[in-house]
């Protein structure tokens, strides 16, 4: 047992495979038991996770904040919708194309972002979030204007049987995408490039003295993060919602994503999980709340938004490290207490 733990501790690849397999198995069992509605929610959480994981790695590792990830999700979504709808590509290839396209779009954005800091970067990416979706109005024949592009739902393969639930299949595909993101990002976080990213974040001058190329490191982080957002967007359009419409990718989505990563804690993949869960479940809870208190539709429609905003403000003022940071702090204090208990006994 201890040998296995030691092995896992030493080998990142092995550890990440174990984590991915364990999470995957758990979610697979979960999809078998969940209702169609819950499976749909799981799928939604999976695409949020892909985008949030990319964003949190960017913010936590290279210290860059992006408010434009909603727009990058739009790039992935429209790519997948166009390729599936117009060209008849299979879903898997279209999703791969979403990742590549969004990554390519991320290159100029990342190069620009690597030269901007703090509020300037926030302002520029906010402009991207507002500006990019309006291109759908500029090219209505290609991008469908306000109504967007609809996509035919993915068909579960025939060997699963004809009565196999569509939402369970959607959940499988989306979760598979999220697990892929988890696997790739986990390995990068725990590799040399992850360490260079952290070095750049903590002290740019020291990092460049050590021979790291600051701009290139940050731009690469942005491209990676954009590719994750692209996969999230592709899953959203091609698998889960079957629609790519500009209304879904406005500034609100970027703010949701920001709320998600801040709530989870910047820079932690576990935090991205909490953020995704909250983004999916909160609208449900507020809807229940609104109907049990018979609030008006205006109030209930805007309640989730208000709560995200209050959480953002509250967390910055009171608990800047988010849920995962709180868990980590709790774990640290527990182990510290344990160590404290051990010391007197070893002294005796």
């Amino acid at each position: 047992m201890t040998a296995a733990v030691g092995l896992l501790r030493r080998h990142t690849l092995l550890r990440s495979l174990t984590i991915v397999a364990a999470v995957g198995l758990l979610l697979w069992l979960l999809t078998l038991g969940l209702s169609d509605y819950r499976n749909e929610q799981l799928a939604r959480g999976a695409y949020y996770f892909a985008a949030l994981a990319g964003l949190t790695v960017l913010a936590g590792l290279s210290g860059q904040i992006s408010l434009g990830h909603g727009a990058l999700m739009a790039v992935g979504a429209y790519t997948a919708a166009l390729l599936i709808g117009r060209e008849g590509w299979p879903v898997s290839l279209a999703l791969a194309a979403s990742v590549v396209t969004t990554g390519v779009v991320g290159i100029p954005v990342g190069i620009a972002a690597s030269r901007l800091r703090g509020p300037y970067l926030a302002g520029a990416t906010l402009a991207l979030a507002v500006g990019l979706p309006s291109l759908a109005d500029q090219y209505p024949s290609l991008l469908g204007g306000e109504n967007g592009l609809t996509v035919n739902p993915p068909i579960p393969p025939s060997w699963l049987g004809s009565s196999f639930s569509l939402s369970r299949w959607e959940a499988w595909v989306a979760v598979l995408g999220a697990l892929l993101v988890l696997f790739v990002l986990y390995n990068i976080l725990h590799s040399g490039s992850g360490r260079s990213l952290r070095a750049v974040r903590d002290d740019e001058i020291a990092a460049s003295l050590c021979g790291l190329r600051i701009s290139r490191t940050q731009a690469t982080a942005f491209v990676l993060s954009a590719a994750c957002a692209g996969l999230g967007g592709g899953l959203l359009a091609a698998v889960v919602e079957q629609l790519a419409a500009k209304g879904a990718f406005g500034i609100q989505l970027s703010l949701y994503l920001l709320a998600g990563v801040v709530i989870g804690g910047l820079g932690s993949l576990g935090g991205a999980f909490w953020g995704a869960a909250l983004l999916v479940l909160l609208p449900n809870w507020t809807n229940d709340l609104a109907s049990s208190f018979s609030l008006s539709t205006n109030v209930s429609n805007n309640l989730p938004l208000a709560i995200y905003g209050l959480i953002l403000i509250g967390l910055v003022l009171l608990w800047p490290s988010g849920i995962q940071g709180g868990i980590r702090a709790g774990r640290r204090s527990v182990s510290a207490r344990r160590a404290h208990r051990r010391t007197p006994s070893s002294a005796a």
Binding site: I65, P119, A122, A124, L135, G250, V316
Partner: protein, 292 residues
Amino acid sequence: MTKFIDLTLSGISSGAVDAAVALALVLIWRATRIVNFAQGAMLMITTYIASAIISSTGSYVLGLLVALACGLVMGAVVERILVRPVEGASPLNAVILTLGLYTVLVAVAGMIWGNSPRSFPAAFSLRGYKVGSTRLLFTPNDTFIVLTVVGVALLLGVMFRATSLGLRMRASAFAPEVARLLGVRVGRMLTVGWALAAAAGALAGVLVAPSVFLGPNSFDAILISGFVAAVLGGLDSPPGAVVGGLLLGLALSYVSGYEGSALVPMAALVILVVVLMVRPGGLFSTQQERRV
């Protein structure tokens, strides 16, 4: 040719509004080194209040004055309660805080007034001036907008240059420690800066509302162009903000007229990135360029 003149004139008018928003952002940046991303939502709230006053009393002037007063109060309250704790902390905290405030205000507006945009009255006629037989796109209301913004900018300039309050505010912005040693109440000056900025924003909201309609998300684009205008002017100088606003208004008006209005936000983004790459200190920077 008529089209070019029309676009130029409407560019000046929309540039004046951008300039007012840019002024609001610059005043706050000078005072606290924070970009107030909640500005668009704050001016949206004051514009809703103005709309309620105007429709119940029928007086445009009263509505405008109440909006300005509400802006002053809101700016002061926001600075005192929310922003004070993150001043001097990592810039990321301030960005997240102001975006959180934006989110809350948009949600509150949606709860109270609904999400569908409504019309907002203009101060003066929206029929263009007639020159010879052609009717220009420039209206008496546009004249009002331009004159008001220029007047406010001059007023602020006089306040900063010629009054003791302005001197104390400049001192707090440039050398807070020294100012404090000399007996200036720096904290209060920051509050005043936020209040004035929010009032300038409130003015911009009332001025632009007739053309964009009034909804919780109507002013997102204005916030972006105000930010771009402020960066054009260097983010530090009120006169720079006014000039930056006018230049940006003209540029975006040509883009909108010749290429299509859906490209305007992207054009603003391109201008922003180019300016930050080429002249990070703004178009008029003479001192050593700041690292952005």
